[in-house]
Each structure stands twice: as C-alpha cells, then as structure tokens.
C-alpha cells in the first residue's frame, strides 16, 4: 500500500493546495533549515526544498527535506538532471523515499554557467521527462531503469514544472503534455504576473483536458523590493507587465505593495477553473508566507 503524501491526499480530495519553498543554505547549518520549516508549519501543505537553485551550491535537497520533515513540514524534494547521472538519481531517490520523503519535483536544472561553478561539467544523462517516466515505471512495474526488479520501489507523488510564458509556445505545450504522459501528477508553474497569458494557457490546458490528468499548481512570486521585481522581469521566460513595475515604483512601502500584489494575483488565480493549488515563491522573504496564506483566506489548512 502506497503511503500517500499529504499533498497528494489534499489534491485528490479536490481541495485547493498551498505550497511554498524552503531554500537550503550554503552551509551545514541544520538549524537554518529547521527555523524556516517551523515558520511554515501549519500554514502550508508542503514546501519545495530547492536543489542547488540557479546552480549555486547549497545543502542537498534530500538532506534539507529530512530536516524539514523532522519539524513537521512535508517536503517536496527537488532533483535536477544537471548534477547526476541515472545511477545517482535512482540511488538518491531510493534513499530519499526510505527516509520518508514522498513528494518529488523533477527538474532539468539551471545550466551551471548561471551559478558559482561555471567551470564545472554538467551531467544531463537523462532529462526531466525521462526521469519522470523512469520513476513512474519504478512505481508501476517495480523495476529500475536497467530493468532489474526492486522489492520496494520509491513511489513518489511526481511533479514537474511548466512555464506558460516560455516560447516557442507550441513546443512548450507539447513538452507539458509529454511530462504528463510520462507520469507527472502535479505541475508547478513559473511565477505568474501576466494574468491574461496565464488564463489563455489555462484555456489550452482545459481544452486538452490536462487539468483532469494532473494537478496544476500556479506559481506566485512575492517581491519585496523594486529591485527584485525588476530582476524578476529580466529572467528569461518570465512575463511581468509594466503595470506592476509602475506600482512598485510609486509605492511608499515596497514591501506592502509587494504583499498586496501577491494577494491580488492569488485572488484572481483562485477563480480560474482547472487550477488546483497555489505555489508561493518568496525568494529571500520566506518569513512573509504565513501572512500571505492567512490574508489570502487559506487557513486553516485541511487535516487529512
């Protein structure tokens, strides 16, 4: 019998999920992670524990996920293809599952040229779609990639990402369908500022009935400064309407305005048919998540 994660149970029960993120430190400080987890406890259903985000070395996602779990916060392990070959991926994930971790987000991973070791090799032995497919096969058929059987497979609740704003649009949509066909059970989107484009994307999702095959969790970024918003705007694949930059410029309190914008976006996202949850990204401002969740009316979180 599969031990379903809390996140999976909530989504399968048709309830709107709330997830957030914990960014591990570039140190071996266990308490750093524990504090972040305690801050989120009771406010969210699960927290993504990022995997060397932007190719900058930080504590391992699996290790930090175990620390979060110890504090009562259910983690979503992240795993990139950039840093591991198919042996390491399988080994790490069997270990992660054995340690009680139940949610997994499969990622390609930012190219190492973006991070603090641009001289390093990358791996990309398999891609994120192949990873999802391998893990689904592990669950369904109790076999590893090489075809050998395993008595106790890792049976993760499998997730992937999608960017409604990336181009070429047609190919990105094909890629989304591939992720779902490969076995992705939930999709976390890139942060949404461009509501019109996101709504159009969701129209396509509903037309293709992808929202019935997987849970779409919409990404919301909380910016605390004009500078961080402008940086967000420059990120490849992001779509930030000028309106938000103008509002942030004009605001006397940037933090209050960032908070307000996030709440407005969440309010609008909640109404969109086919969206099953919200994924809050508060980079460098994780302490704000409880207030966002409370103000957005998501409390109390369902007990399952």
């Amino acid at each position: 019998m599969v031990e379903k994660s809390k996140l999976q149970k909530i989504l399968e029960a048709g309830k709107f999920s709330v997830t957030a993120e914990i960014g591990p430190p570039a140190s071996a400080d266990a308490d750093f992670v524990a504090k972040k987890a305690r801050n989120l406890k009771g406010f969210i259903d699960a927290a993504n524990v990022t995997d060397n985000q932007t190719a900058i070395v930080r504590m391992s996602s699996i290790a930090a996920s175990c620390l979060a779990l110890q504090e009562g916060v259910e983690p979503v392990v992240q795993m990139t293809c950039r840093d591991r070959n198919r042996l390491a991926i399988q080994s790490d994930l069997l270990g992660a599952y054995a340690l009680g971790l139940r949610n997994l987000l499969c990622l390609s991973g930012d190219h190492q040229s973006f991070g603090n070791h641009p001289q390093s090799k990358n791996v990309y032995d398999i891609d994120s779609i192949q990873m999802i497919q391998a893990l689904k096969k592990m669950k369904d058929e109790k076999v590893l990639i090489a075809g050998n059987s395993t008595k106790k497979p890792a049976e993760f609740f499998l997730g992937a990402t999608a960017n409604p704003f990336a181009d070429p649009e047609e190919l990105q949509f094909i890629r989304l369908q591939k992720k779902i066909n490969a076995g992705a059970q939930f999709i976390q989107t890139q942060a949404i500022y461009d509501m019109e484009r996101f709504k159009k994307w969701m129209e396509r999702v509903r037309e293709a009935e992808l929202h019935k095959k997987t849970y779409i969790l919409a990404g919301v970024l909380v910016n605390k400064s004009l500078k961080s918003l402008e940086m967000t705007k420059k990120v490849a694949g992001m779509s930030v309407p000028d309106l938000f930059v103008e509002r942030m410029e004009a605001a006397s309190s940037k933090e209050a305005e960032g908070f307000k914008i996030a709440l407005e976006l969440i309010s609008e996202i909640k109404k969109i048919d086919g969206v099953s949850g919200i994924h809050i990204m508060a980079v460098g401002w994780e302490s704000i998540v409880p207030a966002i969740v409370e103000k957005a009316g998501f409390l109390p979180r369902p007990l399952l």
């Binding site: 190219h111 190492q112 040229s113 641009p118 001289q119 390093s120 090799k121 990358n122």
Partner: protein, 222 residues
C-alpha cells in the same frame, strides 16, 4: 580527423520509403580516409539501394555526388543543382557536414548515412583510434602528449584508478590504460617530475559543457 562509420543498411533503406529521387552525397575529406562516406562508399551505397529498389519494385532514381567537403559552403554550392533535383538527400559526411547540408538546403530532407564517432587517427588501414575530445583547453603539456581526457575511460587527471592491470584498462583488456601510456612517455622523456603536480579541477566551460561553441577571428573575417 573525424572518424565515422556507415549506418546499418537496413536503417537507411527504411527511411527512404516513399521517396523516389535520392541524392547520395559523399564527402571527400575525413570520411573518405576512414572509408565511411567517400566516393567509393557513396557509389557502393547507390548500388545496394538500386538492388534493393529493384527487389521491392520501387525503382529509385539515384544521383551520386562527392564534393571535396560538406563543411565548407563553396563545395556545397557546387552540388546545389543536383540537390535541387532530388527529393531527399542521404549525406555520408560527418555530423557537421550533414547538418551544414540540411542548413544550406533547408527545403530538402537530409538524412544521415553515417554515425560520427570520434576525433582520431589512422593506426593502419582499417583501424582507427580515438585521440581527442575537443575539450577546448589542451592539457597535453602536462602529460607528455597523451590525452587523459580521451585515453582514460574515467578522464582522470591525477593518475590511474586502481583498476588497470598489466597496462590495460579495467573496462576492456584491449584498451591501453591511458595513464600507463602517460607514465611510460614521461619516464622515457625523463620528466616524471611532472606527475608530482596535482592537476586542479578542469575548467569544462570551454568544453561541450559550456554549450555549443564558436570561434570568431576578426583579423581574418572578410
């Protein structure tokens, strides 16, 4: 030079299903020397395809051209008329030539008739061995002219692993241990002192890992 070998005929014949006018394009440079895609191989492939076509009652109209190279535009220009008359091109050049053909003749389907294998040398006629990865920042001055990236199965930089035996690599007794070769060479040159230096982690950003590469020399651009 670039070493390649011809793809299995059964694969090639399958791809041509539905086409009639086929152009086989050999290449007069590397694949000629390694006997994978030169004029001889192109003509042989044409003969095989004609035979297969007759057997299947699907007669192919095959043209064979072998420009000097498929990686220089001027030689592709020379065969443009022949390409234009075809429906599909079967390129016997290396991967660079195949892609350059596909780029230059963008309205034509260009199919690969060879598998590009490695940068290597001719040991003797019929035997080619890999010597270079094109890793972008040469270290041969440290290793007596023998490449650890290529000749070591693990691309180790500070000597062999514990798996080699009698000068052979642990993965295949037919493969020389690259580090045994390096040791022998440095000893012969009286430069074993080079081995004492710990070689630092390599900067792979100049290699494939940094993304597709490009060299621009303003001094020679016309």
């Amino acid at each position: 030079m670039i070493i390649a070998e011809q793809k299995p005929f059964e694969e090639i014949i399958k791809w041509l299903d539905g086409y009639k006018k086929v152009l086989i394009a050999g290449c007069g440079t590397c694949v000629t020397v390694c006997m994978a895609g030169g004029e001889t191989e192109a003509l042989n492939l044409a003969s095989l395809l004609e035979l297969a076509g007759k057997k299947n009652n699907s007669n192919l109209e095959i043209t064979v051209v072998t420009p000097k190279r498929q990686c220089d535009r001027e030689f592709l220009d020379e065969i443009a008329a022949a390409v234009d008359k075809s429906e599909v091109v079967l390129s016997m050049a290396c991967g660079a030539g195949i892609q350059f053909m596909a780029e230059r003749f963008s309205s034509k389907l260009v199919l690969p008739a060879v598998n590009t294998k490695f940068i290597g040398v001719t040991r003797e006629i019929g035997i080619w061995t890999e010597m270079c990865q094109g890793c972008g920042e040469c270290v041969l001055e440290k290793t007596g002219g023998i490449c650890p990236v290529t000749r070591c199965s693990k691309s180790l930089f500070n000597g062999p692993c514990g798996g080699s035996s009698e000068g052979k690599c642990e993965i295949n007794s037919d493969t020389d241990c690259g580090w045994q070769l390096i040791y022998n060479k440095l000893k012969e040159l009286g430069r074993l002192d080079k081995l004492n230096e710990i070689i630092e982690p390599k900067d792979w950003s100049n290699s494939r890992d940094g993304g597709p590469r490009k060299i621009v020399r303003e001094d020679v651009i016309i």
